[in-house]
Symmetry: none
Subunit: 622 residues, 2 copies
């Protein structure tokens, strides 16, 4: 043994080719776990036994890990697999440095021999770009970045000379895999060296093998789902937060506008008729902008005749009643738009934390708050709000500061665009022809108006004059400040209704926005999904147990490493033995995102979900 061990990393010794770029990575490669990895080509297993790791594996590991060759072969982000972006170049440039050949296919054969599987890549389905973008990815449950010690677990499929050329077991497993999802990893262990699943009949073997690999597949899928859900959860939270903010902001705006209007009213006298128009326009959402807000209008927008606004203004002038109607009408329209929307979002809005009650954390009491929901959802998810895990309830304020959860709107957010968004608007205004350009039915000289206004704006005195005139001209009756005076109109949202001190109803009208129920639904859905996933964990466990029992009862020995399927990437073993069902215990999913997607161990998984990140394997879901 002293002599012969191939240099682990580096061009094969036989190849005289000097390796310009690639240097043996003796230094670089380290066992992260501090496990005994004596030296290249050797590894020490749990029992302290020295195990020879086939040269191929070491070479492969070296190649993949060597960052200088990342152009040709590199680890996946998760570290669970590796990529070969260009097999041709890889074959021609890198292979010969490590092997005696330069055939990619030979390389692949070896990979398969060692239980690696290709991960199918679906070529981005859409455009078939000129460049088919080949990308080979291979995965093996025991081949992970930084886990060199796992290499000893990667076994080569031997052609058991003495063994029956059973095209079964392995084949079966493989076959099964084919059908499974993209990431299924055949258990490298099952068909491992010594203790095969040698059954009394090949058939049994096949079956068991298939079963276990199926289970592995299930686990994998499950893990994947959990990861996805997590991601979903996270983004859901974001959405949530945004919605809340948005709503808040919206409300503020609403209030502001109302405020302004009120102010103006007071300023000009309550009954300024002309003001009505302005007010309306303002309320509409921008003097310059069509109130029609985007959503429903678009189709019509083009042909939108100024009627809408004009008329409104005009109407307002005519009758008071209308005005009211007007306003509410407007609102209605708006909301109706919303309703038109695929349903939901009626208004269950968040009660704005207007009330002082903030005392308790519950921002919005009566109704199920997102937080509540969430927390319930995460129940067993032990410690939820962890450092990296965003608190389920996107409290607006991350800080511990006990603030009213609904942090106020930050208007900062809106800034960036103005330029863009105003663009069309601005143009308008700049366009001299705007007003005049249109066939003006009324006789108002645009130029005149311009001048007038110009003056107006230039001189305080003029302004005063203007105001006075305006005042005189207009004789309206008192106008109530629309704002809070209004009565509670609707409450589609029972939730909101019951809850908080009444929020300005008008506001409610205006903000058909984020509706709680929908969000809650989301969260509920999420929760449920999580539970499901957890339950599935249980299922799998049970299944595993069943199978184990079956195997035992059949008098078969548990194949070596049978249980393995990734069972112990980090040493933990699956305790399949006991007949007990830890069923109830599971079900926590939790908050970590460190789930690796390769060899997936249910127990481990559950643990992780539980909270403690047992995962040493750096394969976190990225």
């Amino acid at each position: 043994m002293s002599t012969g061990i191939n240099a682990v990393a580096g061009p094969s010794s036989t190849t005289s080719t000097p390796s310009p770029k690639i240097e043996p990575m003796s230094p670089p490669i380290m066992d992260e776990h501090g496990q005994a990895v004596s030296k290249q080509g050797l590894s020490v297993d749990e029992n302290g036994e020295v195990i020879k790791v086939p040269a191929f594996l070491n070479k492969l590991f070296s190649m993949v890990s060597d960052t200088s060759t990342d152009e040709l072969i590199y680890w996946s982000d998760s570290g669970d697999s590796f990529f070969v972006p260009n097999h041709e170049r890889f074959g021609k440039e890198l292979l010969p440095k490590f092997f005696k050949h330069s055939n990619f296919s030979s390389f692949v054969r070896q990979l398969n021999m060692y239980g690696f599987h290709k991960v199918p890549h679906l070529q981005s389905g859409v455009l078939k770009n000129e460049n088919p973008q080949e990308l080979w990815e291979f995965v093996n449950p025991f081949f992970k970045r930084g886990q060199q010690h796992l290499l000893s677990r990667v076994t080569r499929k031997n052609n058991r000379p003495g063994n029956i050329p059973m095209p079964t077991a392995a084949g079966a497993a493989a076959r099964v895999r084919a059908g499974a999802g993209p990431f299924l990893i055949t258990d490298g262990t099952v068909e491992g060296e010594s203790g095969m699943l040698v059954g009394p009949s090949g058939q049994q073997m096949l079956d068991i093998s298939a079963l276990s690999s199926n289970i592995a597949a299930l686990r994998q899928t499950q893990a994947s789902i959990v990861g996805d859900l997590k991601a979903l959860k996270t983004s859901q939270e974001h959405l949530w937060r945004q919605a809340l903010e948005s709503q808040e902001r919206h409300q503020k705006h609403q209030e502001t506008i109302d405020l302004i209007v009120t102010f103006l009213e007071r300023l000009f006298g309550t009954e300024g008729e002309g003001l009505k128009g302005l007010k309306e326009a303002l309320r509409r959402g921008g003097i310059g902008r069509p109130r029609e807000d985007s959503t429903s209008e678009e189709g019509v927008s083009k042909k939108r005749k100024r009627l809408g606004v004009d008329r409104m203004i005009g109407d307002g002038r005519d009758e008071d009643e209308d005005r009211r109607i007007d306003e509410s009408g407007r609102i209605v329209e708006l909301s109706s738009d919303q309703q038109t929307d695929p349903g939901q979002f009626s208004v269950p809005r968040i009660a704005r934390s207007r009330s002082s009650r903030q005392s308790s954390n519950q921002p919005m009491s009566t109704s199920v708050t997102p937080q509540e929901l969430w927390s319930s959802a995460s129940q067993r998810f032990t410690t939820l709000p962890t450092d990296d895990e965003p608190s389920p309830v996107p409290s607006t304020s991350t800080e511990g500061k006990p603030k009213p959860t609904y942090a106020p709107p930050n208007f900062d957010n809106l800034q960036p665009h103005e330029l863009n968004s105003l663009a069309p608007y601005g143009q308008h205004m700049l366009n001299p022809n705007n007003g005049a350009g249109t066939p003006a039915p009324y006789n108002l000289d645009p130029a005149l108006l311009q001048t007038t206004i110009g003056s107006l704006l230039q001189s305080p005195a003029a302004a005063q004059m203007f105001l006075n005139t305006l005042n005189n001209s207009v004789q309206g009756q008192a106008l109530q400040t629309p704002t809070k005076a209004a009565t509670q109109p609707n409450n589609y949202s029972p939730i909101a209704a019951q809850g908080e001190p009444s929020v300005d109803p008008t506001l409610a009208l205006f903000s058909p926005l984020p509706n709680h129920s929908a969000m809650m639904n989301d969260n509920a859905a999420l929760l449920k999904t999580y539970e499901d996933a957890a339950a599935m964990g249980t299922d799998v466990d049970k299944l595993q147990e069943s199978i184990d029992e079956l195997v035992r009862s059949m008098g078969l020995e548990l194949p070596n490493g049978y249980e393995g399927t990734g069972a112990s990437a980090d040493g933990t073993t699956m305790s399949v033995g006991n007949g007990s069902d830890h069923a109830s215990g599971h079900g926590q999913l939790g908050g970590e995102d460190t789930l690796g997607d390769a060899g997936f161990d249910v127990d481990e998984f559950l643990e992780q979900l539980g909270k403690t990140d047992g995962g040493t394997d750096g394969s976190g879901v990225p």
Copy 2:
């Protein structure tokens, strides 16, 4: 048969790729022996019988015979074999013109399938030139230059019909050898030629039962998950939409408010203390905060003195004051939170397009773009945006109207929040000096004013005009209208300005609100999850199959009511008759959608997703 015969020579019909160089050789190919070679794809054997020649052979023959491609593939001197001097180029340049792929290995597989053999090349034995000069040569006794008629003699090695179709009981039994391998369990109980572990013990039965019930549980859970995900998806969409709407609305408000403020400023002159107060008050109330970046502001904001207007407002509306201030501080925090936030999940795998070589397509290399993500995620879900399946990027419009989706560039990382601090909003607008700010008092003729106002109040249109003009004046200098503004001729009213698809990509840039990338990620995540679920369906099916096989091979009777052949995942129900414990009782499908709680049909599911591709498994499908 009439339909299907592929053109003999020339690119495969399926390949739409025009073949620049290679022209069908219909004319060139002639049977030298004058034998009847009716036409492409057909050949007549000695007995005058018409024989179909597999497309592969014809294509191969064409390729080899075409002298224009001799660079890539050509006949040997003797005409008994052919060479491929450079399989890389051959694969990349020629294969795709004839086949649906460009993998040399697939080509080789076909060759082997048709009985071609590679002729080993001894590489001139001596110098191992830098360039190993690969040279692949294949031979087939019936594949000779000019002897197209011989093609019919080249037979494809078929899967022996009568042979091992299934590794099932029968096959397995047959395969079982008496003197099995090393690990044969000889210790009684088991093994008969029937090869079954017939457990009279009943234990087996139990196990099987447990297995099946477990599987049932799995299925149930799975179905449940799918349902949940669907629900999630739906609500996610809603959220999305709302967020967008909200955003727009918000923006409009913002503009409105700014406009008002500006107006007032001008109206009262910039100096007006009262105005300042108002402004501040307004701002605080939720009007855009001073664009100055929030940060610097907040401290100051506190010490604002409330003056004139402020007070006035206060009168009008009592309550809120304190609160506002309070909150304003918070806002800031909020935004920072966002940034701090663990960001949306990083996306799962997907190869990062690391290599540089990817010369062409890779849009944005290093980082995973949403698009990429999406596309990869959607792998097999070829046609994504379908009727019920919202396009990954939900358009703002609720309607089906095709608007410009946000296909836009990578806003990914562009956290809207971050931008917030920049770009002072409404800076110009608020800037008193902006407009015609110079102190150039006009002379305002009272009469004129009177008239003007009169008109104003008389006509809605006039009012509108007034507003426009006002805006115009206020606005001061021109704001560049970006893109469409220029083209938009009409604009009778500023309102209409928006005209276009309400959603302007530009919005995306600043949208403080819904974070697009996050959403995209959401969707990607969702999609992936769906896939997982689907995969799991497959897994379960396979598992079921395995178990079925096991059961059969064991010669056990199917446990009570155990019928499930996983094979028919679709229609069949998994009626696990036994009173199995559905473990955690979780599994109720939340009365969701159309998913039956029984077996989950992957295909169906996928269809529902809007996808036609029924592929149950993702294995390589271009």
